[in-house]
Symmetry: C2
Subunit: 340 residues, 2 copies
Amino acid sequence: MSKVSITDVAERAGVSIKTVSRVLNREPNVRGATRDRVESAIATLKYTPNPFARSLAGNRAFVVGLLYDNPSSSYVIDIQRGALNVCRREHYDLLIHPCDFQSSELPAEVGHLLRNSKVDGFLLTPPLSDHESLLTALRDANAHFVRVAPGDHAEIDRSVFTNDRESCAEMTRYLVSLGHEAIGFIVGDPAHKAMAERYRGYKDGLKAAGLPVDQRLVKQGFNTFGSGVECAHAMLRQPLRPTAVFASNDEMAIGVMRVAHQAALRIPEDLSVVGFDDIPIGQQMFPALTTIRQPVEAMAMTATDLLLGQLRGVIHTSKLILLESVIQLRESTGPGPHSR
Amino acid sequence: MSKVSITDVAERAGVSIKTVSRVLNREPNVRGATRDRVESAIATLKYTPNPFARSLAGNRAFVVGLLYDNPSSSYVIDIQRGALNVCRREHYDLLIHPCDFQSSELPAEVGHLLRNSKVDGFLLTPPLSDHESLLTALRDANAHFVRVAPGDHAEIDRSVFTNDRESCAEMTRYLVSLGHEAIGFIVGDPAHKAMAERYRGYKDGLKAAGLPVDQRLVKQGFNTFGSGVECAHAMLRQPLRPTAVFASNDEMAIGVMRVAHQAALRIPEDLSVVGFDDIPIGQQMFPALTTIRQPVEAMAMTATDLLLGQLRGVIHTSKLILLESVIQLRESTGPGPHSR
DNA sequence: GGCCAAATTGACAACGCTGTCACATGTTGA
DNA sequence: TCAACATGTGACAGCGTTGTCAATTTGGCC
């Protein structure tokens, strides 16, 4: 299509191609009048620079790569949406590259990605944001990258955080305030550092309320509906039965609701259930799920901004960037046995 | 990174860069011995061709663009997964580009995409696969593209179909066979041609069973949970109450379940509910939702194969490609009042 | 051995942009 | 009025491939 090249524009504007290039790239030191002439030439010719040539000569792709290992589809979509928002504004494109967190091939894969890369930098989402060997590979290759919601607080100049721990503590305190004392907790997939943070938050919350952490009320899940079901069974069948269950993510929470339903336990009258993530279906459950909402899209936007800044060599003041997760009160929580 | 270029490989192998290029691109007419020498040089130097240079010289990107207007997130993810599957195998990358189906900017946006494109071809998913002005723009620009699951049966050499209509007819007949006669239907978003197909299938099914289409049992929805709720209200409050409801997608079906639950109607004893799509949450509902499953990922894979074939100039025999949607029987359907 | 077609290989010019650096043109201050 | 310096602009060499086309080698056959 694009038969019209920079040369044509230059001719029409009566300048050299270099000047056209300058206008294109918003470089300084172009006289206003010249700029105008070039711009009008561009407009009348409907010129668009050839991205391949740009990339070859300038050695940059105007493309951001998104690396992730399939958490829930709604999470991925939100991340994509946020990243695309910023990319579009800045005339970048988004290449997606899901990968297997567990795979031993990951380092090799990333190596290839880096060498052969069509991207200028990477966005990493959990659990990849905490994948040590991946991070090392990226650092060694001097690659640009930004981490979204990592579980540790390292590399604060290339990370966007959220307060997993604090919000979980708050949620736990909220359950206590409702009159619950036997509060079950379903831990998430140990491969995700954020899950450990959430568990810590739960313990913080109990501690703050002067309640002990009872291991009989803590079960290990794996972020899936099925594991939520299993943990709920284990938890609800034992002598010490919780009156509230806090699952580390919504899918597991829904598993708990499923079990409660089968066991003819009413929610929230007989059992309160809360989750984390605020997946769309949570609002459509009967009853709607009380949960914690991460500002996923906003985090992705911030991360992308950070990455593009990095690409442009902007020096980022080393201040921690944290977007707050907030509790969404809905219908699955109610007064516990110790209320009033 | 990639300081090693084709020249280095050529020197090491004692051939010209052109020969290296030939090996790289699997061109014919290279002697076996030569090929081996080149390949070993590539291996020892860990050479990877520079994608920008390739793209500039060869005028192709080795990138596929995915165009979609946000249907459900699980649908998008499945499409992406399928497309990526094939892309990875063929050493292509995937650029995602969600767009607003309704927007009047779409043609302009696509124009820009085409002119400035970093992709070799496009994958279109519903409802974009039926967007006339978009299709026209693509055709006029001589762009490569393939449509996934379009509602019409045009352009069969660049489309991958599924049997929306037939599967809906089958589902309707199934409900009749269970003893239902008053079967409600919630029509989907009129902007999606596939939705019209599903409605036709419903009518076909009734007709085949010798039942009339009663407009009081047909409501217009918009593919959202909320619209499912509204339609269910309208349907269940009227004198002629259906004993089964067929929603054009799962989200609306879940809306129906919600309303039934609130109205203390038991599913499936008092009301059977079925949907379409088989979204993940459907299996986790109480009861699990009977629905129709489209082979989304497989369709995306097939479409991507088709597109890459097109890019390589493969002539595709003009035979209709159709992947079957199949009914998933679960717990939300049961005998109707006229059974036995 | 000689001849022809087919197979194999190479030289070199694109591809369309950005970076470098030299040069031209203005601008300021004494 | 003229250095001295800042600002604008252009010529041209890459960037690392692929495409074209001509040159060379090979193999088959008499």
